[in-house]
């Protein structure tokens, strides 16, 4: 078991080093002189220009710069935002809970709806329900979610006035951050109504972000269920005269869910890409919006550090999924490659 974990872990190290090379190259490949950009219309004297370049470490040979960079990364120093001058890691940690909160709610939404729909479709295979569900889920899978978000805003926020347009909570409430998760923090605070405000702000973004995973989960559950339902032991159970509901709930579901869990784990990347768009549209103060804004503000250290952190998080989650799967399914663990 330990060897298995070690092997899997050692596999992601070269990938991580590769990502550091990518992020290192990023800041050096962007066009334009970062020092000149800081000075703006006023212009800057050549001496001060050289001074600032040296301060940014841009005057040393590339190999030395990379060495320094790696040493910094290992120490947890991902550089400083050129806009706010705060460490990139601090900013990431401040904003990350917002993205986690949104993503967790989105994936819960996708599971709560996607799993039962997939199961029903598999059981009623070939029915009208099955066909229309598969059609709808493929539509969901093809959805440009930034447009989907606009449509939902148009309907629920603008026309019906049910949900707020953007943000995490009404600005009238002041909730002291404890966990960073507003749903929890608002319950801990003594502001009456803060929780329902936070919840109403969360609904639309979570639906938007959960749409593609929902489609994937529903399709995956269906096909995995179909496969299991075709297996011999299910036929045996049926032949023995077990009630159909018991066959499905006790025998089929457990086995069908293993690949589904993997698929859910692998949605992290999808969720993150979606979070960039969702957070931008709903002004959700999370990592996705932070990264996009760093591009438009030319805050390259943030983009660099942020990309590295996101890659690290995704690799870790994938590793965990991998390990869980290995534990659930011993054949993989011992099968070697």
């Amino acid at each position: 078991m330990f060897r298995f974990i070690l092997t899997r872990f050692s596999l992601i190290i070269p990938t991580f080093i590769g990502v550091t090379l990518l992020t290192f190259a990023l800041i050096r490949l962007v066009p334009g002189d970062p020092v000149e950009l800081m000075a703006g219309e006023r212009g800057i004297s050549p001496e001060r220009h050289a001074e600032l370049r040296a301060a940014m470490g841009l005057d040393k040979p590339l190999m030395v710069q990379y060495g320094t960079y790696i040493a910094d990364v290992v120490r947890g120093d991902l550089g400083q935002s050129v806009v706010t001058r705060t460490p990139v890691l601090d900013e990431f940690l401040t904003l990350f809970p917002a993205t986690i909160e949104l993503s967790v709610c989105a994936i819960l939404f996708a599971m709560i709806i996607g799993l039962p729909l997939g199961i029903i479709a598999a059981v009623k295979r070939g029915s009208v329900f099955d066909h229309s569900l598969m059609g709808i889920s493929l539509t969901g899978y093809s959805m440009p979610i930034f447009w989907w978000a606009l449509l939902l805003i148009l309907l629920f926020s603008v026309n019906l006035g049910w949900t707020p347009v953007s943000g995490r909570i009404s600005v009238m409430y002041w909730v002291e951050p404890v966990t960073g998760f507003l749903l929890i923090d608002s319950l801990l605070s003594d502001e009456a109504g803060a929780f329902s405000s936070a919840l109403s702000h969360l609904i639309l973004p979570a639906i938007v972000l959960g749409t593609v995973p929902l489609a994937v989960i529903a399709r995956m559950t269906r096909s995995s269920m179909l496969e299991v339902l075709g297996e011999d032991y299910i036929r045996t159970a049926r032949a023995k005269g077990l009630a159909p509901f018991r066959v499905i709930a006790q025998h089929a579901l457990r086995n069908a869910l293993i690949p589904v869990v993997t698929v859910i784990g692998l949605q992290v990347g999808v969720l993150f890409a979606g979070a960039i768009l969702t957070e931008t549209i709903f002004a959700w103060p999370g990592i996705g919006k932070w990264l996009i804004e760093s591009v438009s503000r030319r805050d390259y250290p943030v983009l660099q550090g942020g990309v590295l952190l996101v890659a690290a998080v995704i690799m870790l989650v994938n590793l965990l999924v991998d390990l869980t799967y290995g534990i659930l399914n011993p054949r993989i663990r011992h099968g070697g490659h």
Binding site: P144, W147, G269, I276, L277, L291, I292, V295, V307, I314
Partner: protein, 303 residues
């Protein structure tokens, strides 16, 4: 009708001729109504794209200053002059959508061609060379797949600068590893098969083995992947356009049309609705087609 019955009559009863591979494919494909529908939509969109200059009533960037934010024809205040209404500077949305089809398909074609070509070659090299080259190429793919594709595309665009061309380059790079992995896996399977061993023994060169012996036998999964690649390309390019990192205004790209339409969500639903609908329909069509192709080409799934 008559021709068909003639053939039927000509064929001796009880001994049906084995269908040609293409015929067999079509047989399975045509059973899938969704896939056929997807194909029809794609044909229509392609025609619209090719004939954009003929079909669209106006130039996509012509501004009608006295018809700003005019609603579609069935709404009050709309007119058939602008069937889907006009945007905030008075451009005809219908014309822009049609010209947008041209751009979106172009994006799909270029992205798929680029990524397929490079990806397949890298995959062939990895599969044939094995050893260090293989490891290097596959690690490179791992690195690229470690990041969400949209984020990686954003990073590349941040380096190259926002434009439609750069967005296409970025997306091509991002989807490339999928083709490489697919090709490599197929090559390794094929290489162990008898016929390849046979042609090796008979002295076929590496190039011949790669392109003539092995490659044709891995085309099926590549075709499916390429079809699905169209939908990814269109969707990602629209997302980049929406974030202001892809096509720049006044280019009638669907995603960037949505970006500039955002501010009119509360006032003019049509500016927001139609470009998105166009994206959805096109992407859905390619996904339907891709699914159909997979079912028809993949013998394991044939029932």
């Amino acid at each position: 009708m008559t021709v068909e019955s003639q053939i039927d009559a000509a064929a001796p009863a009880g001994t049906p001729r084995p269908p040609s591979p293409l015929g067999e494919f079509w047989h399975y494909f045509a059973q899938n109504k969704g896939a056929v529908a997807g194909l029809v939509v794609i044909v229509i969109v392609s025609l619209a794209a090719i004939l954009a200059d003929l079909i669209s009533p106006y130039s996509p960037i012509e501004q009608f200053r006295d018809a700003i934010l005019q609603p579609p024809f069935w709404e009050e205040g709309g007119s058939l002059a602008f069937p889907l209404g006009t945007d905030d500077v008075g451009r005809d949305i219908f014309s822009r959508i049609i010209h947008g089809a041209r751009l979106s398909l172009l994006i799909g074609v270029i992205v798929v061609t680029l990524s397929l070509a490079i990806g397949v070659i890298l995959g062939l090299i990895a599969g044939f060379a094995r050893g260090v080259t293989d490891v290097a190429i596959m690690r490179l793919c791992d690195i690229m797949l470690a990041l969400p594709s949209l984020l990686l595309a954003i990073v590349i665009v941040a380096i190259l600068g926002p434009s439609l061309t750069n967005a296409m380059i970025a997306i091509s790079l991002v989807v490339l590893p999928h083709y490489t992995r697919l090709t490599r896996a197929a090559v390794i399977t094929e290489l162990s098969k008898d016929y390849v061993v046979a042609s090796k023994v008979s002295g076929a060169g590496v190039m011949r083995l790669m392109f003539i012996t092995v490659l044709p036998n891995c085309t099926a999964p590549l075709i499916v992947q390429a079809t699905l690649g169209f939908s990814t390309a269109i969707l990602d390019a629209a997302a980049l356009g929406f974030l202001g990192l892809g096509a720049q205004p006044p280019t009638p790209e669907w995603g960037s049309m949505l970006a500039s339409a955002r501010e009119f969500v509360s006032r003019a639903w049509w500016v927001v609705t139609f470009p998105g609908l166009a994206i959805l329909i096109t992407v859905l069509a390619f996904n339907l087609l891709g699914d159909g192709l997979r079912d028809a080409l993949d013998p394991k799934l044939k029932r």
